[in-house]
Symmetry: C2
Subunit: 399 residues, 2 copies
């Protein structure tokens, strides 16, 4: 790497199989074997779960959303309470995103609540200085610049912060908007440097790592050149942002295959906001080390269990009298706890919140198990065949 | 007692202090030191909590509502899944109410959902044969007779079943309606005998206990004579029903003082649907052994913590930056887990379900702790002074 390493951090790769690799990320809050999946605790809680339960799924890093924590309860309050770990009683490592992505995407949805009946206009605008937006909570106006993102993340105090980036949507015609994407890449680089300036002075000395974010949409040449630009800077890790934002999955897979293994191999590579079990295995194949996604917990809250044999919706009438657990070989508190599909279905239909927790634990356990199996397969040089076996079972779906 | 004891059950009193008493109720699913508080798991789940977490609060019996389980998922389904313990993975003892109280009170509220846009009329009607009502879920028509209640409870398979009783409301003028209450007492006795006939033949041999229910409103002479009538029958325990149904609390306390200690001392005495921590201590003082109430868990879901020093609403702005736990001396997963009032408030305001679980655990732990302290105080002959100290602290409220 160029420049000194953040105190308390280290990364080493200790096994390679094709482009897939396994390694160890050291943080001030514990070692993280990679590849790793990071559950999302948007507002300072992985919905319904205590931190130790999350850690028991195999997760070693949990992601918090800077946008949400900034608006509520506020970074000053979290800082005053001793930082995010102490506030949430998490013993594992934490990562915060920059807040930019949510500022843009959530603010556009408009406020969900309106105070005193006033009409509140919503929306977000990105300029060279950052993102100006109105809160989705109360319509209040906020401005997120690279400097402000660093300040807010510094106060929140996760182990790993992310630079502010510009993430253009790739849905519809966006995927072909090369000019727009080039502009976002250039701005992301300028913002990277502004973030680094603040961070080097104020937060790296305190042991908070910073990751840069590679943009470029599905244009692999833009991705590769941006990866090289950012690798020249002293980030602790490099993320691929702006994927899974509306583009067709085959385009993301194709871009990943070209780009991921070309990102500086000395640093952890993080694919942001991705994805399904199959997406993760695809990312690992091309050299990704870290993932985060709301999918396993959000889908759980919609009644969807993810298993070695595909998706299972507990609401379905065919589970009504099924005494089997979701997966008899799964060691999660839901399956090993003996809860039957019939009981889970009853709880879901009856609106009992216990089922949201049991399914969330199950899905996160699947992800934790998947990462553990992937690490073993890579170490033993059989990643391709292991992946094929898992994908076959997942797509056959005969549970 | 008159008649044989249900297999697997026993009850002995092994300490008395005034009318207060401590003892041991033996059930097929474990011993229950009394006095005991039974959390409510209406639909086969104490909302948000796993059975082992409930047991860790000190609870040894959990109550399920026959009305709810009858309508959804249905007693045949529960029976087919091996009964309520196996269906819900509970290792502790379970008790079901008769279903009559909810059939009357909930059905009157009308259906919460309406199928295919049809207008559904709701309401319930009690005749000598039982309660005819329309489901609050879908408006479908159901009839609950003493025989049907026994059949449904037998299929659900809790350790303890309750007879079907008629429970007249005591709100408004009801508290002075002696004729209406006399009628309900007489009918409850006739229903008791019909329940016993079915139970002796079909369910006692299988190890399900049956408790009778004493009615009589706040007329102590009716209560006492009804208690004697029911004590002549071979119930395993005797409950005081029809309290905390709208009457002023001083009237309930006065009736308890006259009635509770006169209920057959050889059998467990159960005060149904009561109550606050102070109500429980009042009941214990007069010789009650068992309680159930939704209060600790329902109030938790509204943000109210119950502590040794009174009630605390976590929503309140004064907790915003309060790093203290709810009660530094409490051993529950919320307090001992280090969660601060500031964090609990944040979670509640942000709509995070983790807080509902943490507050439910805290409140149930307080109830479990309270019962444990009461048992010690009775054994050591200091119940009155211990109660006075607790009540003083609870009413002072200086947490």
């Amino acid at each position: 790497m160029s420049g000194p390493i953040t105190p308390g951090f280290a990364f080493r790769v200790d096994g390679v199989d094709g482009h897939a690799r396994t390694g160890l990320l050291t943080t001030p809050h514990g070692d993280v074997p990679t590849p790793t999946f990071m559950p999302v605790g948007t507002q300072g809680s992985v919905k319904g779960l205590a931190p130790d339960e999350v850690a028991a799924t195999g997760a070693r890093v949990v992601l918090g959303n800077t946008y949400h924590l900034w608006l509520r309860p506020g970074p000053e309050l979290i800082h005053g309470q001793g930082g995010l770990h102490r506030f949430t009683q998490a013993r594992h490592a934490m990562l915060t995103d920059s807040g930019g992505f949510q500022a843009f995407s959530l603010a556009q949805q408009g406020p969900r609540t309106q105070r005193s009946g006033a009409t509140v206009t919503a929306g977000a605008k990105t300029t060279e200085d950052g993102v100006v937006f109105r809160s989705h909570l109360d319509g209040s106006r906020h401005a997120m610049s690279p400097e402000e993102s660093m300040r807010v993340q510094g106060l929140i105090g996760a182990d790993i912060a992310m630079q502010l980036d510009e993430c253009p949507p790739l849905g519809g015609e966006g995927v072909r908007d090369r000019v727009g994407i080039e502009r976002a890449v250039a701005r992301t680089t300028r913002w990277a440097k502004r973030c680094l300036d603040v961070w080097r002075r104020d937060y790296r000395p305190k042991g908070q790592a910073l990751f840069g974010i590679i943009q470029g949409g599905t244009f692999t040449d833009l991705r590769i050149s941006h990866a090289e630009e950012l690798a020249a800077l002293d980030f602790d890790g490099l993320a691929l942002g702006g994927f899974s934002v509306g583009e067709p999955m085959p385009m993301m897979y194709a871009a990943l295959a070209e780009v991921a293994h070309r990102v500086d191999p000395e640093r952890p590579r993080y694919l942001m906001g991705v994805g399904t079990p199959l997406d993760l295995l695809e990312g690992i194949e091309h050299g990704i080390d870290m993932f985060d996604c709301v999918l396993p917990t959000r889908n759980a809250r919609n009644g969807q269990a993810l298993t070695r044999f595909g998706k299972l919706n507990v609401k379905h009438a065919r589970h009504k009298a099924d005494a089997r657990p979701l997966d008899a070989e799964c060691g999660c508190p839901c399956c090993a706890g003996g809860y039957s599909r019939a009981y889970l279905r009853h709880l879901f239909i009856a609106g009992e919140m216990l089922v949201l927790r049991l399914l969330s634990l199950h899905n996160l356990h699947l992800y934790g198990w998947l990462m553990n199996e992937a690490r073993s397969a890579i170490r033993e040089g059989r990643y391709q065949s292991w992946k094929r076996t898992f994908v076959d079972g997942y797509e056959r779906g005969e549970l």
